[in-house]
């Protein structure tokens, strides 16, 4: 059976096509203002990469905030369930999932069977989300990828105010003007981010094994600092792009429930 998962978020949309528990193709695009067109665009891209047609897909499940407006899915499922399922596939032993996306930071605890046991999120402010890193990277004039490498190159990381993105920005600018090396500043930014996230994670009473998904998991500086703060290894997905967790989960649910419905 060929299934697909379509995860329509406010910033990015992801599409994944799976067969027998393996990914055939995947695509990630920036979301348009219209969920329906985002969905069509990303699925068309995925289908093209797979060298097939939309009709070849047996069941497609939609998730993400725009899921109710995708006309071609057979069913929808909540992003948390999809994310948890996808994360378990990405990191088979995962019991705690830290997902830091562009706009929020979530921690999902799974039970042995992969069901969501507890879910908490920081949804009130930018620090502790990808947005914080984006803003800081822009101030430094570097790409997000580059920012992630700075922690490895620093000899003297700077401690930043981590509570508020606005004020941290002022501090970064000051340090830049004072001529501090980019590595030191970048490492400080990554640490500030990790500190913020660690509070949320620790509050969720995480259970090993801990894994991380979402775009920020590609920032080695944040990941390594977080490992130190939590005193625990953080598994990073190796089977596929960590941003695809939600779409993978949706495709897996499509397989599990067939046309019967995921909800």
């Amino acid at each position: 059976m060929i299934t697909a998962g379509c995860d329509i978020g406010s910033l990015t949309s992801k599409g994944v096509i799976m067969e027998n528990g393996r990914i055939k193709a995947a695509a990630v695009i920036s979301s348009t203002s219209n969920p329906q067109s985002s969905a069509e665009k990303v699925m068309n891209l995925a289908v093209e990469k797979a060298g097939m047609a939309m009709d070849d897909i047996d069941v497609c499940v939609g998730t993400g905030y725009g899921r109710d407006r995708i006309p071609f899915v057979q069913d929808t499922a909540s992003e948390i369930v999809c994310h948890g399922t996808g994360a378990r596939w990405l990191v088979p032993g995962a019991m705690t999932v830290i997902d830091i996306g562009g706009q929020d930071c979530k921690v999902i605890r799974l039970d042995a069977g992969g069901q969501v046991e507890k879910f908490i999120t920081n949804d009130k402010c930018a620090s502790g989300t990808g947005r914080f890193l984006e803003v800081m990277a822009r101030v430094l004039g570097v790409s997000l990828d580059e920012l992630g490498t700075f922690s490895a190159g620093t000899m003297s990381p700077i401690t930043f105010a981590s509570t508020c993105t606005v004020w941290a920005q002022a501090d970064v600018i000051r340090h830049l003007n004072d001529g501090h090396p980019l590595e030191d500043i970048g490492a400080g930014i990554n640490s500030a981010m990790a500190n913020r996230v660690s509070m949320l994670v620790s509050g969720s009473k995480p259970r090993p094994e801990i894994c991380m998904t979402g775009g920020v998991s590609k920032n080695r500086g944040v990941v390594q600092t977080l490992e130190k703060l939590l005193g625990s290894r953080i598994h990073l997905p190796r089977r596929a792009d960590p941003q695809l967790a939600g779409a993978i989960g949706a495709a897996l649910l499509a397989q599990k429930n067939g046309r019967g419905g995921a909800n």
Partner: protein, 466 residues
Amino acid sequence: MRPEIKEYNIDWMIWSIIKTAGRTTRGSDKEFYAMLEYVPYFRGILDPIVREGEAGKQFLELVGEYMGNIVNAHDDGKKLAMTTFCFSPAILYAMDIMPVTLEAISTLGALMWRRGTYDYLDYCCEVGFTETSCSSQRGSLGAYLAGLGENIDMIVCDSAGVCDTNANAFAFTSAYLDKPFYQLNYPPELVTDRTTSYHREDYYGLIAFLEEQSGNKIDEDRLRDVLTELQKQDEILTDIEEMQSLVPNPMPILYNLFIYAGRFFFAGMDNYTRMLETMRDTVSANAAEKKSGLRSGKENLRSLFCYIDHFAVNLSLWDWLDEHGITQVGNILSKYYNADAPYLEGSREAGYTINTENLVSMIDTMAQMNARMPMVLSIRGPYDAPYMWFENSLMLAKVFSADCVVYNGTPGCRNTWGMIKPFARDMEKEGLPTYIMYGDAFDERVESWDATAERLEEFFRVRGLL
């Protein structure tokens, strides 16, 4: 919380540091300054304190003794009471109970450690305490919640009716750790008969609680000793405060910290009296020569900190003020309102009197004195009500000839952030330039000291004060 932070108890760690720091003053100056090279972070507070001479040494000893009392209490067969800075510990000492004052321990951690008390601040939030709560309790509370401190036997506070976030920290801890709890509660008035009565009844309730929890009965002789000592302390403080109002202010700026920290630690105990005496001698000597207490010797400006000081990282605030020739004529923490206090002329009813005649009069004294502790006196009811924060701050500004007023607190301070803007506007109407600081006195992550200092400088320059 980082794994390495879990290795030691907070009280033991602070005690070790301060005890060791106290020993550094026994060497020669040369030895001392050579040793400072080896404590790159701690030197930021050790150096300024030791430079204050005898008073500094006594202060270090005082802090060491305070922390030692906590660490050794159980071995000495005494109970530990977790409490707040605005609760006078005199009653605890009179009943052989050792205080664990959260804000004091938070302050010490914030001053001494480069890493601040972040791990403890955040741990509180990890176990569900709101992140928006005041950092002054959280900075040490996290350790106790995590079991990284001495085992607490009871919890007492006196901030109900004054400061919710403070009182809530203790109520939360009581529920979280399942410990016995007593709150002194304050009505929105100060000097009415029913309020005086309430203070008294409430205090009797406190004593009953302390007796039950500690197994010690209140001892009239012990209480008399403590209150007699307190009377001495009040007299010395009065002398110092009278001199503080001189221009230039002959009191070294760091003495502000010594005065209130000492009082929070050891009100009614003779070690504090000795330190006060040393300080009075220095201040008198300066006053006799009409000398400013600032290191530069030149007083450019006089500031009243209408709330609290800034403790996040070393003694940066005092260093900064000192460097800029700005003397500090006190803050809300450093005034205690004995009815004889020089600034209570015309409103003696707002103060307390010490009467050691018998047990009843002494308990009454304690009740009324506790009702005049920092914040407890002035942060109840609307800020513009009689005796409350505005009238109180204005009076202090006038008596001590302040040129400006500075507000510094924490984002957790609900009751001041609820009205600081109208307060500042009213102060300005009285001709006092007033500055609102947006940092967190105990958590540098909110606003770095560099940013704080920059904005502080901006205020003084833009207002033409410097």
